[in-house]
Structure formats: structure tokens, C-alpha cells
């Protein structure tokens, strides 16, 4: 019954939006999807494993009949699900410091959003709209997004070297091995426990 599993944190947030504003947001998301360059800052922040925004129009909550009452809402709702590495404070501090305008672009359409800077008011808002995870699973709790990216670099280099390893003379191999080490030397961090969240 935790938001945390190993090195990854599951944040859930819901914010109300006036229907005309959620339409604007959907256009913005479409643009972000079409122009990957706009995602660059998000990629460079490198502590999000997966994140998604789900805009649920007020009449589009799943309805299965069978006696279920129909929803009767005035607002559309924006659901946000993030899987990130680090502590809650660290995550929000980083976004506020570096991606404030990007955050504002997405959340300014939500009711009573105070802006992502300064950070203290922003954190209060998030605390109000965040709800808690009941069950959280990750296939690799001991690894962060950074760990994974590094691991893939090591895997690729290792496959390359081991495919050729037997074909070299010992001296050639030593040379190739040095090249391999240089390729992976910045990618060897251990995986394991996460620091305690505070």
C-alpha cells in the first residue's frame, strides 16, 4: 500500500478543468507528441521512467450499464501518473527549477493552479491533488532510468566484444578490451537499494 517500490515512486494526481480548457490542453499534447524536440528537457531530466497524462472528458468516464449510475460532471479531469526516481521533494524541486514554463503550459488550464514557481505553493497544490497508490509493481526495483540507460550501453558493447573475442590475438584483444572499457567506463554504477524517502 505504498507509493514507493525500490527506486521508483508512483505519483497520481487529478485536477479539474473547464471543458474548453481541456480542449486547449489536448492540442498542446498533440503538438508535444508531433514535435519530439519539445520533449528534450523532459528527457534530460532523466529521472522519469514512464509518465502519462490522461485527459478524461466529463462524459467519458467508462460506463458499463449493469446498474452503474451515470456520471454527471461539470469539469473534465486531467489524470497524471508518473513513475519517477528520487524523493517527492527532489522531483518537484527539480521540475520547478528547470521546467517551470513546461509545467505551467500543461497545468495552467487546471482550476486554481498557482504556477510552478515559487516551489512552496506549488508543492501545496500537488499535495492537495495527489492521491495514493494501492499497489505498485516494477520489474526492476533496483534500477533507475539512468541505471537502465547505462545498462543498455554496457550490454551493446559487451555483445560487440564477445562476438569477436575469440578471433583476436592476445595483443589485439587487449587493445579491443581497452576500447570496450572506455566505452562502458561511465556506465558501471551499481544497482540496489534506494535511499530513504524524506
Amino acid at each position: 500500500m505504498s507509493n514507493i517500490n525500490g527506486k521508483v515512486y508512483a505519483m497520481n494526481a487529478i485536477t479539474p478543468m473547464k471543458p474548453w480548457k481541456s480542449w486547449v490542453l489536448r492540442v498542446i499534447f498533440f503538438a508535444l507528441g508531433e514535435f519530439p524536440a519539445l520533449q528534450q528537457d523532459l528527457i534530460n531530466l532523466s529521472f522519469i521512467e514512464f509518465a502519462r497524462w490522461v485527459s478524461v472528458p466529463r462524459r467519458k468516464f467508462p460506463y458499463l450499464a449493469h446498474g452503474q449510475a451515470k456520471e454527471d460532471l461539470r469539469y473534465d479531469y486531467l489524470l497524471f501518473f508518473s513513475n519517477f526516481n528520487g524523493t517527492w521533494n527532489q522531483y518537484i524541486d527539480a521540475f520547478s527549477a528547470v521546467l517551470a514554463s513546461g509545467l505551467n503550459l500543461i497545468w495552467r488550464w487546471s482550476e486554481k493552479f498557482p504556477g510552478s514557481m515559487p516551489v512552496t505553493l506549488f508543492k501545496e497544490y500537488i499535495a492537495r491533488v495527489q492521491f495514493d497508490t494501492d499497489y505498485y509493481y516494477t520489474a526492476y526495483p533496483h534500477a533507475t532510468a539512468n541505471d537502465l540507460k547505462s545498462a543498455h550501453v554496457v550490454q551493446a558493447s559487451f555483445e560487440s566484444l564477445s562476438a569477436q573475442a575469440g578471433n583476436y590475438t592476445p595483443e589485439e584483444f587487449a587493445e579491443a578490451f581497452l576500447g570496450f572499457v572506455l566505452q562502458v567506463q561511465a556506465h558501471l554504477g551499481e544497482t540496489g537499494e534506494a535511499p530513504v524517502v524524506f
Binding site: 534530460n44 520547478s96 527549477a97 581497452l178 572506455l182 567506463q185 561511465a186 558501471l188
Partner: protein, 461 residues
């Protein structure tokens, strides 16, 4: 920004005194009225941030309080609970957050730090041992006369003197004393590399509120602070940590690994920290020490890591790169600006020459003191995320080579290149070179706040 009233801020916060002999008393207050009288009598002696334009004083005195110490003065409950959570808990309760486990766990700390009796830190610095002793005696007399406190213990610390001249060396042989941030309004001039990085590559002072409560900080707001404003403003928080150094283990480890490392012993030692042992930054001089750089404040801290993303000059996990990443995380250093701390501290214990026999059980180490507006956002964050962990630097769980709580496992990677004297190298099976022997969190109030505490005039609103 508002002009700083230097006479209201404790000098220890604003200045590194460069007085090489120190004694830190740890006090316990038994009774509020007597304790208040002691503070009232101490007040004229508290050294402020006023500049020493007419020469250094013989000695200085400063004071800080733990949360329990403040409650001994009968401050209102609303004020007491408005202090940040980590300060209320104290450093011992934060051990698992800080990675103070295993050999660094509180059960291994010195006696005074294992209980709840430490109420205040009284820091005395002297220009000579005699000046230090004289001041200490005077303070002891005052404490005894007023019966305002009990002295639980004291800790001596002193810089190393070599051939009659002071050095900034610590026990492992590294030259310390670089890297304290510049804050707006605090120094008369800024040194390139000390403040925050601007988009055009120049360095500007950090917002005052990163050090002092009551001033705008780097997030564009006043930092979270206790109430009332007048109690908090011009004050700051300090993390005090007594770090024992296992000198024998360090020397043996360095010796042993140097035999396999193509760059030699001094270079390997430099790779651990990011500076040669004389203080030359590896980024500026990867192959040799360079005293000219060390002596020039325009150069000694003036570098970035952008051109060394691979870590071939300064390893990605080296100490100085971990605690001050500069531009290494991108975004013009904006992820760093709120994670800086001001360090004050001195070594303790006797210095041993390179050829002298030493033992890990010899009493030596460094008294580490970090000053910051927010313990959790600054000191605790750096300790937890950048020293005992490495994810932000893309180093996974790898810890800081010298400071990390390794317990015999873990590793440190020295990135290299194809040259014979700069090969890639891994140091594994890391022992604890440094052990925590105790400490706590202290609040260093302004002079005004001290007066209010002494006169029992604190109202929460």
C-alpha cells in the same frame, strides 16, 4: 536586495575566520532563568559579521542551539513546532535518511551524541593556542558564575602548522578550504566558480536566502523559516559532524592500488577528490600539480565539467564533482543552485608525516560543519543523494570514494583514456576511510534573536 546588517549576524555564519585554533563546547541548560542570564551575559562577547578592517581579534565566540536546547528557554510551543521537521528531530533520528548506518550508526557514536543532552554548541576560535585557552577560561568562569549551563564536553580542533606556517591540509594530505559559495551581499567580491553559473558562462553570487533565513532564495521566495520572523531572520542552521579518519586504512589502500594504477600514487589520490593534494583542480591541470593555479583565486575554483563529460580528467564520481557538479547536470546549473552549503571546519588530532607509523584507532579526523538555510534541502540532500548515492551523477548506487559508508563493498571508477598514465581504473572493496562519531543540528540565531531569547520576549505571532 536588502543590505545585510552584519552586526546582527553571527560572524561564524558570514566568514571563515581563518583562526586556526578552535574549541567547541557542548552545553546543557538546567534551568531556564539561569540559562537566560547566561545568554544575556554572553551577548557582548558573541562575534558578529562586522568586518575586521582593523585587524583580527585574538579570539571569537559564537553559539548555536539544538531544538531541545531552544525548548530549555521556554520558547512558546507554536514557535517550537514551527521549526523544520529535521531540526526538531535532530541528526540522530535522521540516521537512516543520511545513510548513517553500520559503522556510522548512532550506537557507535561518542557518548554525548547518543543521548539527548546536548543543548548548545559554543564555538571558540583563537589566533594562538594561548588566546584560545584564555578565552575558554573566561567563558568557563562565566558559565560557572551564572550556573547557566553544564559543560558536557569539548572538542578541540586545529589547522596544521608546518615550519611555523599554517596549512589548509587535512589528515589524508589533501589541501582543503576551496569551494565555499559566494552569496549576494555577503562577500565584497566573488570568486569565479564559487557562486552559480549563468547562461553566458560567468559566475554570479547565490541568493542570500540560501544561507540566511529571511532573504530571497534561489527559488524566488523566502525560505521556509520558523516563526516569528524576527527570531528566524539573519539566522541559519548548522549540521555538526565529527568525522573520524582511518589514516592507516587510507594510506594502505592508496599504496596498494597505486601499484596497479598507471598514473602513479599522487594522481590516483587526486582522482579520489578531483584536486591534486596541493589543491590544483584536475580539470585545469590533469597531469601535474600547479601551485600558480592554487594561489590565484581567479583560477583555483574557475572551471566547469562540460568539456569532460566522460570523466577522463576528473572522475565523474570524484568528491568535488559530486558535491558541486557545476554544469555537469545541464540546465545551466539550475539543479545545483539550491544544493550548496557553506563549510566551516578544522581537523582534530595530531598530524602524522608520510613516513610515520599510524593506526586507525589514533584519534584524528575533521570536525565538519555545514551552514545552510534548509538542512533537508541542502545538507541532507547532498549527504543522501550525492555522497551516499550516485544516481544524479549517473553512477547508480556508487558512493563517494572517501566519505562513503562503504562497509567493505562498493566501488569507485576512475574514467580514463588510452594513455598509459591515465588508464581507466576501478577501486573496489572499499573500506570506510571516514567514520561518523557523532553530531547534531544547531540553529545559529541572529544577535537580535539571542536578545529575545535571553529576555524571554519571543511571541509566535
Amino acid at each position: 536586495m536588502s543590505k545585510l546588517n552584519e552586526t546582527d549576524i553571527q560572524g561564524f555564519v558570514l566568514r571563515g575566520y581563518n583562526l586556526l585554533f578552535a574549541r567547541y563546547f557542548f552545553l546543557h541548560f538546567e534551568e531556564p532563568a539561569r540559562a537566560r542570564r547566561l545568554i544575556e551575559q554572553l551577548l557582548p562577547s558573541i562575534t558578529t559579521g562586522q568586518r575586521w578592517d582593523s585587524g583580527k581579534p585574538q579570539s571569537t565566540v559564537n553559539i548555536g542551539f539544538t531544538h531541545r536546547g531552544l525548548s530549555a528557554f521556554e520558547l512558546p510551543p507554536a514557535t517550537m513546532i514551527s521549526f523544520p521537521v529535521e531540526f526538531q528531530q535532530g541528526m540522530r533520528a535522521r540516521a537512516s535518511i543520511l545513510g548513517d548506518t553500520g559503522r556510522n550508526a548512532p550506537e557507535h557514536w561518542e557518548h554525548i551524541w547518543r543521548g539527548d543532552r546536548v543543548h548548545a554548541w559554543l564555538g571558540v576560535n583563537g589566533i594562538t593556542p594561548a588566546a584560545l585557552d584564555a578565552r575558554s577560561a573566561a567563558l568557563r568562569n562565566l558559565i560557572d558564575e551564572t550556573r547557566g549551563a553544564v559543560v558536557l564536553d569539548s572538542q578541540d580542533a586545529a589547522g596544521q602548522i608546518v615550519d611555523g606556517r599554517p596549512t589548509a591540509k587535512e589528515h589524508f594530505g589533501y589541501t582543503d578550504g576551496f569551494g565555499n559559495p559566494d552569496y549576494l551581499g555577503v562577500e565584497r567580491s566573488t570568486q569565479p566558480g564559487q557562486g552559480k553559473l549563468m547562461p553566458d558562462g560567468s559566475w554570479a553570487p547565490l541568493a542570500t536566502g540560501e544561507l540566511l533565513l529571511g532573504y530571497a532564495d534561489e527559488a524566488g521566495e523566502l525560505p521556509v523559516a520558523p516563526i516569528p520572523h524576527i527570531l528566524a531572520s539573519n539566522g541559519t542552521f548548522m549540521a555538526y559532524r565529527k568525522l573520524h579518519q582511518n589514516l592507516a586504512t587510507f594510506r594502505n589502500y592508496l599504496e596498494e592500488k597505486s601499484r596497479l594504477y598507471g598514473g602513479g600514487k599522487e594522481k590516483l589520490a587526486a582522482k579520489f577528490i578531483g584536486r591534486w593534494r596541493d589543491g590544483t583542480p584536475l580539470e585545469l591541470s590533469p597531469d601535474a600539480e600547479n601551485p600558480d593555479i592554487v594561489k590565484d583565486p581567479d583560477r583555483s575554483t574557475n572551471f566547469t565539467y562540460g568539456a569532460d563529460a566522460e570523466g577522463t580528467r576528473c572522475p565523474i564520481g570524484a568528491h568535488t564533482r559530486r558535491v558541486h557538479p557545476r554544469d555537469a547536470f545541464g540546465f545551466n546549473g539550475k539543479l545545483i543552485d539550491r544544493r550548496r552549503i557553506t563549510r566551516r571546519g578544522l581537523p582534530y588530532g595530531s598530524f602524522a608525516g608520510e613516513d610515520e607509523q599510524v593506526s586507525d584507532s589514533d584519534d584524528r579526523g575533521v570536525v565538519f560543519m555545514a551552514l545552510n538555510a534548509s538542512l533537508s534541502r541542502q545538507f541532507e540532500f547532498v549527504q543522501q543523494q550525492w555522497i551516499e548515492y550516485g544516481n544524479d551523477a549517473h553512477q547508480g548506487n556508487d558512493k563517494d570514494m572517501l566519505m562513503g559508508n562503504h562497509g567493505g563493498s562498493g566501488k569507485f571508477v576512475v574514467q580514463g583514456d588510452r594513455s598509459a598514465n591515465n588508464p581507466p581504473f576501478i577501486c573496489a572493496h572499499l573500506p570506510n576511510f571516514v567514520e561518523l562519531r557523532g553530531g547534531d543540528y544547531f540553529f545559529l540565531p541572529s544577535i537580535t534573536a539571542l536578545e529575545m531569547i535571553a529576555m524571554k520576549l519571543v511571541d509566535p505571532r
